[in-house]
């Protein structure tokens, strides 16, 4: 950031004269001859209101006083309107023109005065309704050239084609929805229109699915790698050799102490600038793994160290070595203890894949952002939220259940009341909404057996 500020200040100071250079260069810019002109369209499928953009440079020897776009049969030009931009090099010049839509469907634009020779022409014909069937269509263009001797002659600009596809099913469905009265009244509510527009839901769902798969595959690849990395670092941090411990500490602190966003930029921009480059997808997996292994290392270390020392001593008194004790006694218990936190870390990592959109990885967030940008409607964000929740909600639920089971299995020590307490409150507040404040006596019925005392406190909590 700091670097950018300094740069932008320097840039401002050096501002004088730069645009002049640009304008001078522009005069020398290569000009398109009318013969290399082209027509492009803004839609990829047929049956839609489509913008046709004709770009050309007028002939060197003649001005132009009329251009006709002879749209073939099947193209509906009844409601078209035309935007025209005329440039001398890069400089806008004024153009006076009239548009006429002929009975044949041709769009005729006449200029008065004529467009000067060699000028750049941009003609945008809006709202042409194309035939639904996809394919390549030729759009014949004819123009009336005015030579210097005031002669006019009709010239052709042949071979201009546009290509588009037949619309897929969801798009057809979206267009059908557009005309339903129920959908219309739903969309008339601003909030629903912006976040839950049905036309966008049906198109965005299948489109974002690809992004969802990408996000999911990123995290499914990165997470196992980070488990291995995390274990390695955790053992390094508990090593007897001090420098090994230091390396692990530095790694954990640097990664945990900086935003993932920054780490992404270092790998995608920094490393590549100095020549270290992996394919995008692998880079993404690498960043996520680097990041997550630091967090997992701490989770594993805390898990291992939470097993009481006595167990180590007991194991060694049975003749086990350090690694045998780890393998047969400590790790199995650790796994059960760290499972809930690990699952939470998985959820976090899955959500963090969204940050990769900033460096051009086509994951779920990227797809939804692009959709929003193109359609000026936020419905795609809602769809993305649903895709994220499909993964996260069941996992959040799983974490809760794992925690409860852990609390139960470690009964007796200090853990159970804590676990029970959390669960008691959770259930209590859930009950509060439908039933209002229940009688305090209901509390004990929720739990059972020896925890009766404790559930009382939970009941007190909810009635407050």
């Amino acid at each position: 950031m700091g670097d950018r500020i300094v740069r932008s200040m320097r840039l401002r100071r050096a501002a004088a004269g730069a645009l002049l250079i640009v304008l001078m260069l522009s005069v020398a810019a290569p000009a398109l001859a009318m013969s290399t002109s082209r027509i492009t369209i803004d839609q990829k499928t047929g049956g839609l209101q489509t913008r046709f953009t004709y770009q050309a440079t007028a002939d060197e020897d003649a001005g132009v006083d009329r251009i006709d776009f002879l749209f073939p049969e099947g193209f509906d030009t009844e409601d078209v309107y035309v935007e025209l931009t005329l440039l001398d090099g890069l400089k806008r010049i004024k153009a006076d023109y009239e548009v006429e839509i002929l009975e044949s469907g041709a769009v005729s634009i006449s200029f008065d005065p004529a467009v000067p020779a060699k000028s750049n022409l941009f003609i945008e014909v809006y709202d042409v309704i194309t035939p639904i069937a996809g394919g390549t269509y030729e759009i014949p263009v004819e123009y009336e050239a005015v030579t210097t001797d005031d002669d006019t002659e009709t010239r052709k600009d042949p071979g201009l084609t546009v290509t588009y596809a037949t619309p897929p099913r969801q798009e057809a469905l979206s267009r059908w929805l557009e005309n339903q009265s129920l959908v219309r009244s739903w969309n008339s509510v601003k909030f629903l229109n912006i976040f839950f527009k049905p036309q966008h839901i049906v198109v965005a769902f299948p489109l974002l699915f690809k992004g969802w798969l990408k996000s999911l595959s990123l995290v499914l690849l990165a997470f196992p790698i980070s488990i291995i990395g995390g274990l390695l670092i955790a053992f390094m941090k508990m090593a007897k050799i001090a420098p090994v411990r230091w390396i692990a500490s530095v790694y954990i602190n640097v990664i945990r102490g900086t935003p993932l966003f920054l780490q992404i930029f270092v790998v995608f921009i920094g490393f590549r600038t100095i020549g270290i480059r992996l394919p995008d997808f692998l880079s993404a997996v690498a960043v996520l793994s680097f990041n997550s292994s630091a967090y997992l290392a701490e989770i594993f270390r805390a898990g291992i160290q939470s097993i009481s020392r006595g167990q180590f001593e007991a194991a060694s008194s049975l003749g086990m070595t350090y690694w045998q004790a780890m393998q047969h006694v400590i790790i199995p218990q650790t796994v059960r203890r760290v499972l809930p936190t690990m699952t939470s870390e998985f959820i976090l990592l899955f959500k963090d894949t969204a940050l990769l959109a900033a460096v051009g990885i086509f994951e779920l967030m990227m797809y939804s952002q692009n959709y929003v940008a193109r359609n000026a409607n936020l419905t795609a964000f809602t769809v993305a939220a649903i895709y994220y929740l499909i993964i996260t909600i069941p996992l959040i639920n799983l974490v809760g259940r794992l925690e409860a089971r852990l609390a139960q299995s470690e009964g007796g020590s200090s853990a159970p009341p804590k676990g029970r307490h959390k669960r008691g409150v959770l259930l209590g507040s859930g009950a509060a909404a439908p039933e209002g404040a229940p009688a305090p006596g209901l509390g004990p019925a929720v739990g059972s057996g020896p925890q009766v005392d404790f559930d009382h406190s939970a009941a007190k909590h909810e009635s407050r």
Binding site: L23, A29, R277
Partner: protein
């Protein structure tokens, strides 16, 4: 506690949230109604019938990584758009506050309302955008540019077929690349500076971006990028205003016309572009 009760509770909570939203929608409508009534009364003594998010302030949404039009100098926005908006604010008697937003969400946010009043973000006036919002009169003529590694050759859009093209999401540059480059793989970025970083790192093969911004960004750049082609599009920038706020559009147009007349516009133009406007 049975599972089904949990689901009932969840459902009720969701219903509650929804109803709050719809209630919010109702009150908002009535508020707007009264506000316009009030302001029309005031309107007889002062020209100010437009709706503002915050009274006395003109909140401006902008993608502030688009020099020389807008960029952040520390936490202060600066640039051509910023100076011009400040001058307009002065004419309208409003304090101009720039808010950094992401370009591609500017229009939906303005349409949704409640966050900022105006878009000033080097935004081209396009009929597609005019379906969603209103624009003031144009205040700058722009073009597109193609940026590649220094020394690259470029003869026409078909050279870029199948290449990775970096663009700023939601811009006219993106639209140009989509329409003109056959089979291009477009990589949209949040802002222009990120796209340039990606090109310097070789993550994309080329960038299509507004010419004045590319010129500015590459002026003192030593990352080996250059403008290999200028793409004449003759697009024009305008400030965006909500369609429900036509009074503000008119007031801004008036201010803009005055600024052009009294020489302030030319002064600001020269400050940022080093030459006098046409």
């Amino acid at each position: 506690m049975s599972k089904s009760k949990k689901f009932v509770a969840l459902f009720l909570a969701f219903a509650l949230v929804l109803s709050m939203f719809s209630l919010g929608g109702c009150t908002e409508d009535t508020e707007e109604g009264t506000e316009t009534e009030e302001t029309t009364e005031e309107g007889t003594e002062a020209a100010g019938e437009f709706i503002l998010v915050e009274e006395g302030k003109l909140l401006v949404g902008s993608d502030t990584a688009f020099p020389p039009f807008e960029s952040m100098n520390g936490d202060v926005a600066e640039g051509f758009d910023v100076d011009l908006m400040n001058a307009i604010g002065e004419k309208l008697g409003l304090e101009v506050v720039f808010m950094t937003e992401i370009f591609d969400t500017l229009i939906p946010t303005l349409v949704a309302g409640g966050k900022f009043d105006v878009i000033a973000s080097g935004m081209t006036i396009k009929p597609e955008r005019e379906e969603e919002i209103d624009f003031t009169d144009p205040y700058y003529d722009s073009n597109q540019s193609l940026v590649m590694k220094a020394g690259s050759t470029y003869t026409g859009p078909s050279d870029l077929s199948g290449k990775k093209i970096g663009v700023q999401s939601g811009t006219t540059g993106e639209a140009w690349a989509q329409e003109n480059i056959p089979d291009a793989e477009l990589v949209p970025f949040k802002n222009a500076t990120e796209a340039f970083s990606a090109a310097a790192a070789g993550n994309v093969d080329a960038i299509v971006n507004d010419l004045p911004v590319s010129t500015e960004l590459l002026k003192e750049d030593d990352r080996g990028l250059e403008i290999v082609a200028q793409i004449p599009t003759g697009e024009q920038y305008g400030f965006g205003v909500s369609k429900e706020n036509t009074a503000l559009t008119e007031a801004m147009n008036e201010a803009l016309a005055e600024l052009r007349e009294d020489g302030t516009y030319a002064e600001i133009y020269e400050k940022w572009f080093g030459i006098a406007p046409e």
